[in-house]
Symmetry: C2
């Protein structure tokens, strides 16, 4: 696709660097910006440049932060004895939006995946061990994605953490609410029967 | 959806102002930029700000231009006796990409649409009449979208242009190449029979 202007072409090329945006979509976005006021584009461009330049990562949990500590670690009302281990910021946002969890987080920055060249040294594991070493943490919830790599990482972490005397749990896996049993994949269904729970406990939660 | 950082929230909000981008997609794009180097985001932001600030519109045909005249109007090899009237820049790019058309363009900036409050005065019609008045133009091709508004605009323009002694044509409408007759809409099919053309002429083009 050829463009009548170098400026347009540069802008389209920049948009196509984003995931899921092809040349046609990029052109649509650029022509949209052209129709709007100059100030709209300036605000857009400056907001993302500022975001990328000024963003910091929490020194404690590696979450996105505007200051030294993120808003979650700074919140004195949250339960500091509970740490939820997640892969990425995305999961923090998903869990926070449930408005049910009141503990802290620890962002690993990925999972152990030899095929992608990611080993334990590439993840935020040392800082996790330091947090546990303070003795304040009572329970660690593993909230990694239910994949082979996620399970490997949980296994690795649980071995390292067990000797510190901290309780380790994983998020419940099973049939989703609203799901129909006949459409659930076999592995999930089989595991949901194997790891069945007392109905009394289900009622009390 | 709540975000752990004001910077992230601002960036996400800016992305959602673009057409077809919701909050989840915006967050995905922002997190993608966060993973990449700071320079990537700076280049992206600056390219679109520069594009919006420096863009000019051709003084002759209203196409996007880097200078006074667009690259098409400046091209001395193009046929200046032929003007193709289009609604938007998008259509110029589509026609240019066919690499078949060697005349000039004139961008109306829309079509007559009373329901949207767009009348002839809101379109680039005066500058078209000025171009025709020079006497250089021999033929005007109407390449507007085949809608009610497009047809109204063609009718209006043809009345104004006819008295100037310029030849007026429209792009061929009919069954698309590769299309199957049974799936073509009735109006197109009926019109394609009513406006049938001599096979000899079809062969010679």
């Amino acid at each position: 696709m050829r463009f009548p202007s170098k400026l347009i072409e540069d802008a389209v090329n920049e948009f196509t660097k984003l995931p899921g945006i092809g040349r046609k979509t990029a052109l649509r976005l650029v022509l949209h910006l052209l129709k709007e006021d100059v100030s709209i584009t300036q605000e857009f461009g400056n907001a993302i440049i500022k975001m990328r330049q000024d963003i910091r990562f929490c020194e404690q949990c590696h979450n996105i932060a505007d200051q030294e500590l993120c808003s979650i670690c700074e919140d004195t009302l949250r339960d500091k004895e509970l740490i939820c281990i997640v892969e990425n910021i995305r999961e923090v946002i998903a869990i926070e939006n449930t408005e049910q969890y009141r503990g802290l987080y620890h962002i690993l920055g990925g999972v152990i995946s030899p095929i992608d060249g990611i080993g334990p040294d590439n993840l935020n594991i040392d800082s996790l061990m330091e947090r546990v070493a303070t003795g304040e943490v009572k329970e660690i919830i593993m909230a990694l994605n239910p994949t082979m790599e996620g399970d490997t990482t949980i296994f690795y972490l649980s071995k390292k953490l067990r000797e510190k005397g901290v309780k380790i749990t994983t998020i419940a896996r099973g049939v989703a609410f609203g799901g129909e049993l006949e459409y659930v994949d076999g592995l999930t269904l089989a595991r949901s029967i194997a790891t069945r729970m007392p109905y009394d406990r289900y009622l009390s939660n």
